[in-house]
Symmetry: C2
Subunit: 272 residues, 2 copies
DNA sequence: GAGTGGTCTAGACCACAGA
DNA sequence: CTGTGGTCTAGACCACTCG
């Protein structure tokens, strides 16, 4: 037997590194399928387990995904990270470009995707329900029954109209029922300026935003909906919008694969 | 042989879940050492490899660390996540409480740590050097030679003066040499108000901030310096400070274990 | 010298997918 | 049906640490 001695780094890491380079060099282009583990194991002269561990590293980085029950890992079609500019995306100028909803489809996110050569797609479901407990507490509603309007969106990046696209984020918006029940906010399409403008029309103009950012492991459902491997962690951004009087009128929970995004915030300093 | 059939979830995940609960229940208290893999394997009636995979999950979440060459995983002493409030920590009110440097030791971060029952410690090294390439580009300096003043800090949370503490973040600040060479910015202690006030004294008052947030795998050095397992990802926050004229006067790169922190940003909206 | 964690292999079983 | 990936086990070696 050949003994790979102290090669300074474990062999599964060396395999991962070689695969990483092969992907970057274009040997396995974006969107393509990699050889099966068995073939890679032959190629690298090692055990299938070693290949699996190496691919697991790449999956955690978001470079590839391993769709369940499908042969060969999938190379992520999106190469550069998408930038989410928190402070500019909700400003007036951006909002006017907004497409179907408060979170812009052709606005900030759409522009960033376009720069990378993708078009933005989204699926929306609107229904009455209850928010998760920590959201319910912030909104001051019960976390059971029908206390809020939920606007659940799934957003994707596609190379063209016929491409089903790669999921980029889940965004669930919760609006207290007393503001939203029976209003246009229960319609899928909220018109020009989106949800934020409609809330303003109803007398709930947003005046300040807080966003809380956490990184955690995805639930099985999230991993499936985002088409990522469970070893890749996700951003969870809790977007909290308040009126000038301090009332919280809307909370959106974004869940995004950590390998796909970069976040950016800009703000002026107090002049002392 | 006992065949664990389709138990709905793989056994390594079940083991991870039981260990997670045992830790939360206080069976393995914060800061303590868990039994060796071998003993856990006996306890759970499974192979050592299965235990290793379960512990690897917990390490990725930041619940435990597996220090190299030490027996038994270490339970993370810090239970709740520390909140880093990006928008408030650099405002004047916070900065006046600042201890030894621009990033507050007894300021914002110190207050958050105190709330969790910890005290803040830090180590600082100041020297002339070159920033990483992407930072050099932003600063408009070369990425070789001695082009900037580097203020490298390592911050820790400790339970008391005698506790060496748990590393919470690395923060490297880069200031262009033409601003900083020969000034008080090359001293370890920059006095009241910290680095930001000294830059203002020198005519480079900061007027706006941009922060870019990325989540990635740590380098081996970072994992060692932060005392985390390599499977846990880290936040990399690039903090960019500009003057009113748009000149970038300081860039700080924060590297923080993702399991230890939550980020928060707040800002007012344009009134349309 | 024993024990330990990290690594690697060989081999096995299963559910499932595609031919 | 075969092939595949996910999972698990048994067993091995190594570098290292601790008595």
């Amino acid at each position: 037997m050949v003994w790979r001695m102290n090669e300074e780094r474990p062999s599964f890491r060396a395999v991962a590194e070689r695969l990483r380079e092969a992907i970057k060099a274009g040997q396995y282009p974006p969107g393509s399928t990699m050889p099966t583990d068995t073939k890679l194991a032959e190629l690298f002269q090692c055990n299938r387990t070693t290949i699996a561990k190496a691919l697991s590293e790449l999956a955690a980085e978001g470079l590839v995904t391993k769709p369940p029950r499908q042969q060969g890992a999938l190379v992520n079609p999106i190469r550069e990270k998408i930038v989410r500019d928190g402070t500019s995306r909700y400003q007036r100028g951006q909002r006017e470009e907004v497409g179907v909803d408060g979170v812009p489809a052709r606005g900030a996110a759409g522009a960033e995707l376009a720069r990378l050569g993708f078009i933005s797609k989204s699926e929306t479901a609107v229904y009455r329900g209850a928010p998760p407990p920590h959201v319910a507490e912030l909104l001051g509603v019960e976390s059971t029954g029908e206390t809020v309007v939920v606007r659940a969106r799934r957003m994707l990046a596609a190379t063209g109209p016929s491409d089903p696209g790669t999921p980029t984020q889940l965004a669930d918006t919760y609006i207290p029922g007393e503001l939203a029940f029976g209003t246009v906010l229960e319609q899928e399409n909220t018109g020009s300026g989106g949800m934020i403008s409609r809330l303003a029309d109803l007398g709930y103009a947003q005046s300040s935003i807080t966003e809380e950012i956490d990184v955690r492991s995805p639930t099985a459902e999230e991993a499936a909906a985002l088409g990522i491997s469970p070893e890749q962690s996700v951003f969870e951004i809790l977007h909290i919008a308040s009126t000038a009087s301090g009332q919280i009128v809307e909370i959106t929970r974004h869940v995004m694969p950590r390998g796909l995004w970069k976040l950016r915030y800009s703000w002026p300093l107090d002049q002392a």
